[in-house]
Symmetry: C2
Subunit: 319 residues, 2 copies
């Protein structure tokens, strides 16, 4: 019997979590991941309340294992989402982008496990003080929305592990068994992978976007729009338009206007690689193929075991 | 007998390298590190040719073990430094900030081992094609001058390890035995630590600066001056002046003028924490004390062994 804190907390088999991501992680991906023994998460940030309800119901039909919903707390429909989550009996909620004080007690009063996503030691301590069950600490290399401190996973995980007492999930730059083992060595109890599950058969990302993700090379993602919310994107024509715009010292309003509405959907869900906002992590450079969720979990676990053995057997570690 | 490639290449005992750093790593630090079985490096980027000659001679007197000189290739006195290095019989040179094609052949023709510092896969491949013996791949979290790709150590090391055939040294965010083990898991043969050795008794950094380094918290360093050469600094009054200046959309010339000359010396060597440029890595947040070089090496090795054991024994890794 494992005493891994995250395995115990969620009642899952492996300490691997699929990040809740806009336009990529609906019930198909979440249930496939949960059916493989990891934790699947429905990303509600791109769903209207009615859509979220459907995804939760379909997910419950597709798996008997625990799954979660990710909720960006600043999302305009957050209150309705919370009501849906409680009503539909979702067992675990990952909150992000907002104040964990607002909803944690309410969710926990309904026996829902609450995990908050943070990008710094300060926010990890704040989340802990609000009573969350665990934190995800996400480094600078992560895709999509990102912290202002720009602390990398390698530096953030040991620092958060030293400061908080609740279980810790590492995110940002983790795509395989060796990065999972490294993150756990640094102090994490489990890992959350986003980018890896974008390039997954069950992901609802557009095929064009998945293809661009597995073709990405080192240096192909950039953190931008720091004056709004920092976001890591693939370097495409839209990103280059931002680079040009920045040369004119745009105001926040001009940036918001340029970004417009629906640009992430356009790129990630509808496959417009030119005009879309393509949110992905730095570790996309390490991906070469699109696999199913069960294949990804199996590969990660096999790599994890083989790297554990390598530490004992590879003579490069002996001196 | 270890078959670790870096241990063999340099003829040292442990695959640990002390980064060559301006104003911090003179002969006292380099020889102390080399005497402890790791590789000490004299940072020549802040030395006039006559000063470098003295440091090399003192280092040779202070240790019988291999040591190296770090040379930023864009340094105005680079040619004279190269001549000094050859004449004084320095066995290993770490080059950085410049084209590895310029001097590698000349150095190698004198039986000098050449290692080049890179921040991307592209530059690693370029360095390999120029015939260097190894590369240091340095991530975004590193202190001082930094790459433009902003790739973190966690993402950079696996990518470079997959692409180059020569030995690989990881740098950026590595301060202890667990980050060393993580970096080697990710594909490195050895690690280079800068920040950790700034806060070292034998470092020639000013005591004020050392004290500020060990008191730094997560989020206290920033990458700035990207229009010149990106550099990671402690957030002090000078950094805040830069933040204010950036609000006025400064030209490159205005930034260069603001930076002026000698500001790194002022801060790091002379201890002016207000007006100085204080170059340090993100992992400074994890340091709490100033130790001697031999104590640091011993601690890192002990932690390295204990984390190797932890992977076999801690039940969090079993599921």
């Amino acid at each position: 019997m494992s005493i891994n804190k995250i395995v115990k907390l969620f009642g899952i088999k492996y300490p691997i979590i699929q990040a809740g991501m806009i336009w990529c992680s609906g019930w198909e991906l979440a249930s496939a991941v949960s059916n493989s023994g990891a934790l699947g998460i429905i990303g509600s940030g791109s769903m209207y309340p009615e859509v979220l309800k459907k995804h939760i119901r379909k997910c419950k039909k597709a798996t008997n294992n625990p799954f979660a919903v990710n909720l960006p707390l600043l999302y305009p429909n957050a209150k309705e989402h919370i009501e849906t989550i409680i009503k539909e009996g979702v067992p675990i909620v990952f909150t992000s982008a907002g104040n964990p004080n607002t909803w944690t007690k309410e969710l926990k009063s309904h026996n829902i496990k609450v995990v908050h996503v943070v990008s710094s030691v300060k926010f990890a301590l704040k989340a802990e003080s609000c009573g969350v069950d665990a934190v995800v600490a996400e480094g600078f290399e992560a895709g999509g929305h990102n912290g202002r401190e720009e602390t990398t996973t390698l530096c953030l995980i040991p620092d958060v592990a030293n400061k908080v007492n609740i279980p810790l999930i590492a995110a940002g730059g983790i795509v395989d068994g060796k990065s999972m083992l490294a993150a756990m060595l640094l102090g994490a109890d489990a890992v959350q992978m986003g980018t890896r599950f974008v390039a997954c058969k069950e992901s609802s990302a557009h095929e064009n976007f998945k293809k661009m993700v597995v073709e990405a090379k080192e240096g192909d993602t950039k953190l931008t729009l720091k004056e709004l919310t920092p976001v890591r994107l693939l370097n495409n024509e839209f990103y280059q338009e931002l680079v040009d715009l920045y040369k004119q010292h745009p105001t926040k309003d001009i940036l918001m206007n340029k970004l417009g509405r629906g640009r992430a959907k356009l790129g990630m869900f509808e496959g417009d690689l030119i005009n879309g906002e393509l949110e992905i992590g730095q570790a996309s450079s390490q991906l070469n193929n699109i696999f199913s969720a069960s294949e990804i979990i199996e590969q990660v676990l096999n790599e994890f075991s083989s790297y554990k053995n390598q530490i004992n057997n590879d003579k490069k570690f002996i001196f």
